[in-house]
Assembly symmetry: C2
Homo-oligomer: 206 residues x 2
């Protein structure tokens, strides 16, 4: 800690403290086969800004390749879990205790506001054109929709993800009565990680 | 009416009825000097899907040129009010009775959830790089921010607009106790417009 203290400004340390305290592990984002680099980048930036910590990426059909400039470095502050096979991602999500809900427009889905935020929740967003794979859908506890009022019955995937994650993050924070949900040990680990990442690459411990 | 009845299917008429009943005139979106066609397109698609009816566009420095494919035809179902000068847009918004609030990140702004949705509200979104003009800012009742929890202190403008419009539309509908807020005369007018737009161009009255 003394090592880091010397090289990270007080202002930066205050910032890190605030971010760590606001991180939610109990709301995860799952991206399956995103086709457009722009959407992949936008969703990472949104997750980081909203305090989502864990992003699960399934690249079974399409590699996840966020446009570099658009993420504004958000990927650095997230825990990205990448999987070539949906089965592995599902197993990891279940191991971590998440209830999995997939974004699927239409009357058969729960409304966004009905999602259970009192326990760990993972929201799945699928390919822009083809949607979420059958394999992944069948592993979900349910599906959810964003209420739609127009002739258009869908939103851009990065817009849909932003609305859903914002709404659920807000509901979860209200439920918790605090900004974040990490345990003391996890807070310490994430704080150390962010301190290290705040050093210039040449000064990071090897 | 008999004229339209003959050429618009019952299914389409039911759809039109549902959309018209869910339109909100009491929540408007204002876009100033949008630089990226992709963002311009995304915001129109979002407005249409969420039931926002009026979009005010200020093109004082930059023309508003939404990417065609990305809007998915949303512009057809919106009332777009375009202005070359911010002053004219401000006058039109005030004439229509809107309280104007600008999206400005930072602690000096109201939190999104504090915005007044019990009266007509216009939300302003500005240029991606330079933000909202001083001229427009000085005409606003106030500014609002989306609560941020990350190292990143801003969102993509189309993402920010989606979160803000979704949240305010939902709050306004809850407050109203119904989906839309048009008066009977306005409903009839919009219904007629949508019926006409549902005809093939060759069959529309001249």
């Amino acid at each position: 800690m003394g090592y880091h203290k010397a090289m990270v400004t007080d202002e930066r340390r205050t910032k890190i403290e605030r971010v760590v305290a606001g991180r939610l592990k109990g709301l995860a984002c799952v991206c399956e086969n995103f086709e457009k680099p722009h959407n992949a980048a936008a969703i990472l930036r949104t997750c980081e800004a909203l305090g989502i910590l864990n992003v699960y990426i399934i690249e079974e059909d399409v590699p996840f390749e966020p446009t570099k400039g658009v993420t504004q470095g958000a990927e650095k502050w997230l825990l990205l879990h990448r999987f070539r096979r949906a089965e592995r991602a599902i197993a990891a999500l279940k191991d971590a205790g998440y209830a999995i809900y997939a974004a699927v427009p239409g009357e058969g889905s729960l409304s966004l506001e009905e999602l259970p935020v009192d326990r760990p929740l993972a929201l799945v967003f699928g390919a822009e054109a083809t949607g979420i794979s059958e394999k992944l859908l069948s592993a979900c506890q349910g599906t959810f929709r964003i209420p739609m009022w127009g002739f258009s019955q869908s939103l851009n995937v990065s817009v849909a993800a932003a609305i859903a994650l914002y709404t659920c993050a807000r509901a979860r924070r209200a439920r918790l009565g605090r900004a974040g949900d990490l345990e003391p040990g996890e807070l310490a680990q994430l704080r150390a990680r962010y301190l290290e990442l705040s050093l210039p690459p040449s000064q990071r411990p090897r």
